[in-house]
């Protein structure tokens, strides 16, 4: 009696899950964090947000506050200075959250690999859902990465259904 959701018919729960998943795929709000990038990747991300590529048609919206965001778009290698900040921004985001690492540096440390002040790629500090390689990746590549990430959500849904 006390546990109402468990008492719901299975079809309902499934429908609600589907609705939630649909809304997540439909409306990924992003926040952009630069953890030590050379700014090349950031310029490409800004280019992605310009009217020419218009990501609002996918529902992607750049948010200022980590509390509002679903997707953390990281650029650049993680420097020792940025490590704690990156972690904090990640922790501030409410669940469910996703991380996209944009650029070779964010993937592996890139040209900054092995520098005295660099920890390495983003995945050394926080879990990453999608890597977008390139130095810097073109806006098309970034959009493709986001779409692939959303597509993986869709697949999870299908897997849940069959499983």
């Amino acid at each position: 009696m006390s546990d109402v959701p468990a008492g719901l018919p299975k079809a309902w729960t499934k429908m609600l899950e589907g609705l939630k998943n649909w809304s997540r795929i439909y409306s990924p709000w992003a926040i952009h964090f630069n953890s030590g990038s050379c700014n090349g990747c950031d310029i490409e991300i800004l280019a992605t947000l310009t009217p020419r590529y218009d990501v609002e048609r996918f529902g992607i919206k750049l948010q200022g506050s980590p509390r509002h965001a679903d997707v953390l778009i990281c650029t650049g290698p993680v420097t020792l200075q940025a490590r704690d900040r990156l972690k904090r921004v990640y922790d501030q985001m409410p669940d469910p959250k996703f991380v996209i690492a944009v650029g070779s540096c964010a993937t592996s440390g890139g040209v900054f690999q092995g520098c005295y002040n660099v920890v390495g790629g983003i995945d050394q500090v926080i879990p990453v859902n999608a890597f977008i390689p390139g130095c810097p990746p073109r806006p098309e590549a970034i959009i493709d990465g986001v779409v692939k990430l959303l597509g993986s959500l869709q697949q999870k849904k299908v897997a849940e259904k069959t499983g």
Binding site: S23, D54, E56, G59, G64, S65, R67, P94
Partner: protein, 309 residues
């Protein structure tokens, strides 16, 4: 059934509750789409606002350290309730308001203001400096546009000899649109509406490039969804009010759609046209120009009414 369920239906389905929320989401979509088209973009999909809302509702709600949890949780609900209640007094979709009493114009404007006050308080409740700045700006802006906006809405009310929305609405129906003779008042009302909704030139309180997300920076999930929904509802109510008063009344659903959507196009165009004003510019604009214009219009209305009638 001996119990009369029609007030309940009125509150939950039409015109309160569901209809208002659905219309709010639709109008938010149209507004965003229009702005996008004006900026030469494709713009969002039709169900975008709905998806945003559902997603936010399904998200985790973080209650940050340093807030009073009771206020943090209840303020969005109060804001949403205020906005929805205001919907009961307006001629939504061209039908007569479901509740009508003398002076409900003031109640409606106050209930719309309640939303803004809640946003301000919500910002002031958190310990985050961006929220505090946003809250200060929200409340400062509230004090600057509220008076001129109300004065602008009072002009048609004075002509109709009543502060009751439904009476004003029926009295202006069939006459020449008040926006033509009272163009100053119409101008102030439209700009005031944009200030109230914190749309583009007046969006200093949530300037994402300066203060993250303003008063709502710390809100995630449900609270944010409710505030956004409240804003959407406020958009519908504000546009309905202004078009009922200044665009010759709303007497049927078709007229309602045409007039409110027409007004929405104007609002969206203004949004796309102007860059953000600084908060001191906003206050200066309202008190130096807006309030004076509204008073001038009021004076003209009162004098003309005395001379002609």
């Amino acid at each position: 059934m001996s119990m009369d369920i029609s007030p309940l239906l009125k509150m939950l389905v039409f015109p309160g509750g569901l209809t208002l929320i659905a219309l709010g989401l639709l109008y938010e979509y149209i507004d965003r789409k229009l702005v996008a088209r004006f900026q030469n973009r494709v713009g969002p999909r039709v169900l975008q606002p709905l998806a945003d809302t559902i997603k936010l509702l399904a998200k985790e709600e973080v209650i940050p350290a340093g807030v009073i949890p009771l206020f943090f949780v209840s303020l969005p609900i109060i804001a949403m309730a205020g906005a929805l209640t205001a919907g009961l007094y307006i001629p939504l979709a061209g039908f007569a308001p479901s509740f009508s009493l003398p002076g409900d114009l003031i109640i409606t404007v106050f209930l719309l203001g309640l939303l803004t006050i809640c946003i301000g308080l919500a910002g002031a409740n958190t310990a985050d400096r961006f929220s505090l700045l946003g809250a200060t700006r929200t409340l400062t802006q509230l004090f600057s546009y509220e008076a001129p906006f109300l004065l602008a809405l009072l002009c048609p009310a004075i002509l109709a000899d009543s502060w009751q929305i439904s009476i004003v609405d029926t009295s202006v129906t069939g006459h020449v649109w008040l926006a033509l003779p009272l163009f100053i008042g119409f101008f102030v009302a439209v700009i005031g509406l944009m200030g109230k909704l914190e749309l583009a030139p007046f969006d200093a309180p949530e300037a994402e490039s300066e203060i993250v997300a303003g008063a709502l920076t710390e809100y995630s999930g449900r609270g944010l969804a409710l505030f956004r929904l409240g804003k959407d509802v406020e958009l519908v109510i504000g546009i309905t009010l202004v078009s009922a008063f200044y665009l010759g009344g709303l007497s049927n659903p078709l007229e309602f759609l045409l007039k409110t959507l027409g007004l929405l196009v104007v609002v969206a165009a203004l949004q796309a046209l102007f860059a953000r004003l600084r908060i001191d510019q906003v206050v200066g604009l309202w008190w130096r120009i807006g309030a004076l214009l509204a008073l001038l219009q009021l004076l003209i209305v009162v004098i003309l009414k005395g001379v002609i009638l």
